[in-house]
Symmetry: D2
Subunit: 327 residues, 4 copies
């Protein structure tokens, strides 16, 4: 039995999801795509032998579509997720689940009203499926090195897209950190502080890099550097400091090259290259859970809400000179 999937929004991220479902995920079948740009939709559909639906609503309503991936613009997520819920169809929504905590709550409320045996909404926090993060979490939760005391996270990308401001750095980009940190440390974030650094000349009016301090319910202090115009490469780092040792993500590499007086490994250029395995494993787990009619291990709508609330608290701290703000 295979799950027939439709993808709404087939820009860079959605087209990648479509390809992964069509070609790599066992038990998944790509049947339909939709995009506000019909030529993009047509191209992706042609490449993968899928149908084009007129829009997200039509795709969600399509009777050949068993499950929906949403990879559209952030501000359209809520309505599309609500439409999927109304149609009783499982949905994997790219992060953020919704632009505001309030919208997240509407989704949760609508899902709760269905009283379905298994929640329909999942959120695409793919880092939870990255083999390095999974290994790091296993090591932390094993307790072999004692309790976590502190953690240091870094998220750097090559350049910002046009648009966006200092707040959107938090809600759109740092949101991955805000989900992964409590998952990694097994404790929710209870207070946050936003700190200004010297801003890059490449950052326009946006504050970039930014530094966040997060404190978990278990009292672990976490530093997060977010730098969207880091230029040198796409780079995610995380070190957890425990009682008797530390453990950290490594940079995934394939070869090391000696040339021109240097010994070097390559950085990926973007998140799709860095997290290719994570996306594949996440979508496989989603499809498997649908086939087996069981809850998946993907992030839930509640996780999406929790991350949104932390993001809101960080933006509030940003507007109040960096003081600690409770989540």
């Amino acid at each position: 039995m295979s799950v027939r999937v439709g993808v709404v929004g087939v820009g860079v991220m959605g087209a990648d999801h479509a390809r992964t479902i069509a070609r790599v995920v066992s038990g998944g079948e790509l049947v339909a795509v939709a995009d506000f740009d019909s030529s993009v939709a047509a191209a992706v559909a042609a490449e993968m032998d899928a149908r084009v639906c007129a829009d997200g609503a039509a795709l969600i309503a399509d009777e050949d579509v068993d499950a929906v991936v949403i990879a559209t613009r952030d501000d359209t997520h809520t309505d599309l997720v609500l439409a999927a819920l109304a149609a009783g169809k499982p949905v994997m929504c790219e992060k953020p689940l919704a632009p505001t905590a309030e919208d997240c709550r509407r989704v949760i409320s609508a899902q709760g009203a269905l009283a379905a045996p298994v929640d329909l909404v999942t959120v695409g926090f793919m880092r939870r499926f990255d083999p390095s993060y999974v290994t790091l979490r296993d090591r932390v939760l094993s307790g072999d090195l004692g309790a976590p005391l502190m953690a240091h996270c870094v998220s750097r990308t090559v350049a910002t897209s046009p648009g966006g401001d200092s707040a959107s750095s938090v809600t759109n980009s740092a949101i991955h950190e805000l989900d992964i940190v409590p998952w990694l440390l097994n404790s929710p974030i209870v207070e946050v502080s936003w700190q200004r650094g010297r801003s890059s000349v490449n950052s326009g009016t946006r504050q970039d890099p930014q530094l966040y301090l997060l404190r978990t319910a278990s009292d672990v202090l976490v530093t997060v550097e977010l730098f969207l115009n880091a230029r040198y490469g796409y780079d995610t780092r995380c070190e957890v400091v425990m009682e008797t040792g530390t453990s950290a993500l490594t940079l995934p590499t394939h070869v090391v090259t000696d040339a021109e007086r240097r010994r070097a490994v390559d950085y990926p250029a973007d998140w799709i290259l860095r997290y290719r395995d994570a996306y594949r494993i996440e979508l496989q787990e989603w499809v498997d859970s649908l086939v087996e009619k069981r809850p998946s291990t993907l992030a839930t709508a509640h996780d999406g809400l929790r991350a949104a609330r932390v993001a809101d608290a960080l933006v509030e701290s940003m507007h109040s000179a960096g003081g600690w703000v409770a989540v």
Copy 2:
């Protein structure tokens, strides 16, 4: 459309292939397994909801089986591959294709007699699909650092299985190197020399480690250390020395851990952990090629023969005090 696969031999390797096809490969379906140990076959079949066939011959003949994976003992490969050819079914045979070059030639001859539009036999030299080897080959073939001049390879495993002698180290274990080196350097091996080292106390009567010198048609000299009782971990290394620089495989890692005065990354314990991605990608490519009725990029029966001939030359060198032997 999905490809219905049967797996003959579901020991450690075959069971892993069965799981990969059943759960991970898109477009592949595991329908049947067979094993000389019927309780093993029953357990794997139950785990993956497949049927048990009485033996390899029955599985190959089964009309619900579109394609066959062979992962039985080396000395049974030839007959099973010939049976699959007789049944006109595609086959992915674990390395070695056959225990002798003569047997490889029989397979090639039988395949040729079919005059099928696409060759039916492929050989499981999975390193060709390992992302690190693929990246290394791309770098070598790009010519950016000039022509390859020398290469250094190391294959180490934790411990030998019972049985086996110095010659079987070559034909059964080093065979991976004998396939990958010419693939990597894009030039066949034309002469070889086998060199004795001091043997490990853990190696019984088998010479271990062994050192091989290989020379390609392009005149590249290659050193290969094979050490089956290396104890510390499963480790594959390869460095290609070019005109203006070198490039080498890195050890795939997920986390680095600081504890007890050491900064450490983990070695995999065996080949299945080290080459998990390679096996998955290889089987996906095999299934894709069957769906699309096109030649795959897997190793062919000719590649299997070429590796066998190099192995034979190495064994001949071993029996003649390490002199160079033409392939």
Copy 3:
């Protein structure tokens, strides 16, 4: 011409300085030692064929002593440095120059009153001579990667000595960071914030680890983790994030060892092993400057004061719930 050096305080640090001067530094000669524990003084003197002086005052007054190294308990530094100044003798005082900023000012004032052509007081901030820090600073100041925007520092040691509290972590241990950060970034620290983390079970009543935020006059935001009971090893890290790339200290290593499923390099157990080269180069530069009657590149009394003032601000922040405090 050689410089005849006396060392006051020959515990672990002072004995190491004594050995370095006696055996490794060109142009330096160890002539006398003193220690409040006379048996320790006698042992070190015997080992290096030096004389024992009754106490620091006697050593400073000794006419065979041209220059003085002070490596006694922190609270004795001020008086000994003042005594050396009174005797008109150059002094290399282990950090901190004095336990308080006020005492640092007394030293500076006494030194100024001498109106000597070259300042007599230097402070043992040896990291300035560590080849890794020197290389990192060169890279930062070259501007090749643009201006520094942020920096992340980590100072971890195996275990705390008996005694000490949360404030002494700042004034005694973190003081190295407070000196090196402005040296590295070429800009003074102008405000600081002290942040509490979850404290290690091995830390007694002391808050450990601690996190500091520092801001330089050039607006660079710096995070500093200090963890004295990190257990796993002695570890100094520093990464400087610049406009188009980053540069960081590497862990100095000699060999990498593969054993027991791990690939590992060793951590030094303490600061003497980690900074052996730095201490040697620092003392060589000090002796060279004395021979050549020129200012050295060692930290000055003013540097010692600056670090003390930053430490005081951090302690103030600690006592006021982590708010930012101007230096």
Copy 4:
């Protein structure tokens, strides 16, 4: 008491030794230099406030010179060492001790005739003092990982100097490997084999790279790659494979830099940068041994002879198609 040293030959290597003795070595004093190019001698002497002697013979005869460093052209070593012996003065001769084994024997014979309590001749095999090699040897000799079974060595430099042929690669460059391997494994080399690889387009008529196989009396098989025109950097590698694990030299680094999609560390450009510490420690040990009138741990004339004999055997193998040649 200090040792007054004269340096004969102050090209790149000799000038570096002169500076090290003058400025860095404790107890050493540079008093005189000589060079066949008098302007070079004058410049080095002026820089370090030493005298110029007319030639090596004059320097050796100079009554203010206690000990002699020889860093002249290889073919002048024997006569200068013999002159130093005739003058009864200790000598540190750069490798090779002499261009031929026969000349080495003349030196040993002349030294023996003196019947001095401590041998006067030492040879500049500085790798014995490199902290990485020392740590590696300690690890090997500790036996913690069992007996050594195999070793892999690589010596690469950026480019060859003008002149030189395939044999000179062995006698002049590979000689370092031929000394260090038996020192590291604590067993002499008893047979060797020279192997041709594909030669670099940058190597002229010289075979480059070359591969050597060495076998020790303890039956350890060693591979050595020598590549003088490797272009990318100066690089020495060595891995020792033991019963239960391996240990290898690491590349000494100070910083790691992220830029332009790469994470990179720098290679040194030449041997003086790579072995700066080794040269310093070697010369310090030499001077210490002279002060203390004891044998040093530097390589002896016998070590120089042993390395020369292995080199001769390799050249013989080169002229006989790579067969094994007994030393």
